[in-house]
């Protein structure tokens, strides 16, 4: 199981989603994506995005930036 990191800090919606989709397409089921973003809508967006594809959100940390770990669905 690999963890891939993705930095989307400074990007506005919908660009983080575009990058996440691209990264996720390259990943194998079970792999994790650790993505950091600064867009205020990102927390809600990543939840909606993951639910849409059935990926599991392992954690979301909100401080200055928002960091989410998403596991790709099988």
């Amino acid at each position: 199981m690999n963890t891939i990191e993705l930095d989307c800090v400074g990007l506005c919606c919908p660009m983080p989603l575009v990058h996440i989709k691209r990264a996720m397409d390259e990943m194998a089921p079970g792999d994790c994506l650790k993505v950091t973003a600064s867009d205020a809508a990102f927390e809600a967006d990543i939840k909606a995005w993951s639910e849409k594809f059935g990926h599991a959100i392992l954690s979301i940390d909100v401080d200055e930036n928002i960091t989410a770990v998403v596991q790709k669905a099988a």
Binding site: G10, C13, M15, L17, V18, K21, K52, F53
Partner: protein, 199 residues
């Protein structure tokens, strides 16, 4: 009881009856399957259509950001460019073989996304420059990049043929990778889509 008597006394008759029952059940099942198939055709899929009627920078930003966002969420997105929206798809200004009115339109309408005005605060062209500057500062891609990105993400773009004829735009004046279509093309997609927008 009557039936039971009959079946016990006449096995041949019973077998024929059972076979007829089976036939009826199969027929019923076939009809059910057909109904399910028909219903499935009517259920909207996770698609999105956007009619891009406007030809202003800010409205195109909204349309393209929604399209790329939706495509990133796994939706099949179709954009239909009609009327003023066609300006955004022009790649060159052509005057040859056009009548006076079409030449006038070719001259007056923006050629491509980089020439679009804003719907508010255009200030004779300063508005779009200001917004491009602000977008660049926020690392937001400009319309040209968004249009390319939409293509990369598999967003289908269709130019309305009627609007093309009215405006006098030929297919080769518009950017590559476009389909041309009419109302039926749009409706076929729209009736299968959960989200349909008119911008």
């Amino acid at each position: 009881m009557e039936d039971l008597k009959q079946t016990t006394s006449d096995p041949m008759n019973a077998a024929t009856g059972a076979s007829a029952d089976l036939q009826a059940m199969l027929e019923h099942l076939r009809k059910c399957q057909q109904s399910v198939d028909d219903l499935q055709k009517m259920v909207p899929e996770d698609n999105m259509t956007i009619v891009v009627f406007s030809g202003e920078m800010d409205k195109l930003i909204a349309a393209l950001f929604l399209a790329t966002g939706a495509a990133s969420m796994g939706c099949q997105v179709s954009m239909y460019y009609t009327f003023w929206g066609l300006s955004a798809l022009r790649k060159k200004t052509v005057y040859r073989h056009k009548n006076l009115w079409h030449r006038m339109l070719a001259w007056m309408l923006p050629t491509g996304v980089s020439q679009l005005k804003t719907s508010k605060m255009n200030f004779a062209g300063i508005g779009p420059k200001l917004f491009n500057h602000l977008m660049k500062k926020q690392q937001v891609p400009d319309l040209k990049k968004m249009l390319e990105l939409a293509g990369e993400l598999g967003v289908e773009m269709t130019a309305c043929t009627t609007a093309m004829q009215i405006m006098g735009f030929d297919r080769d004046e518009l950017i590559d990778g476009l389909e041309v279509g009419g109302v039926a093309t749009y409706l076929q997609n729209a009736s299968k889509s959960r989200v349909n927008l008119f911008i």
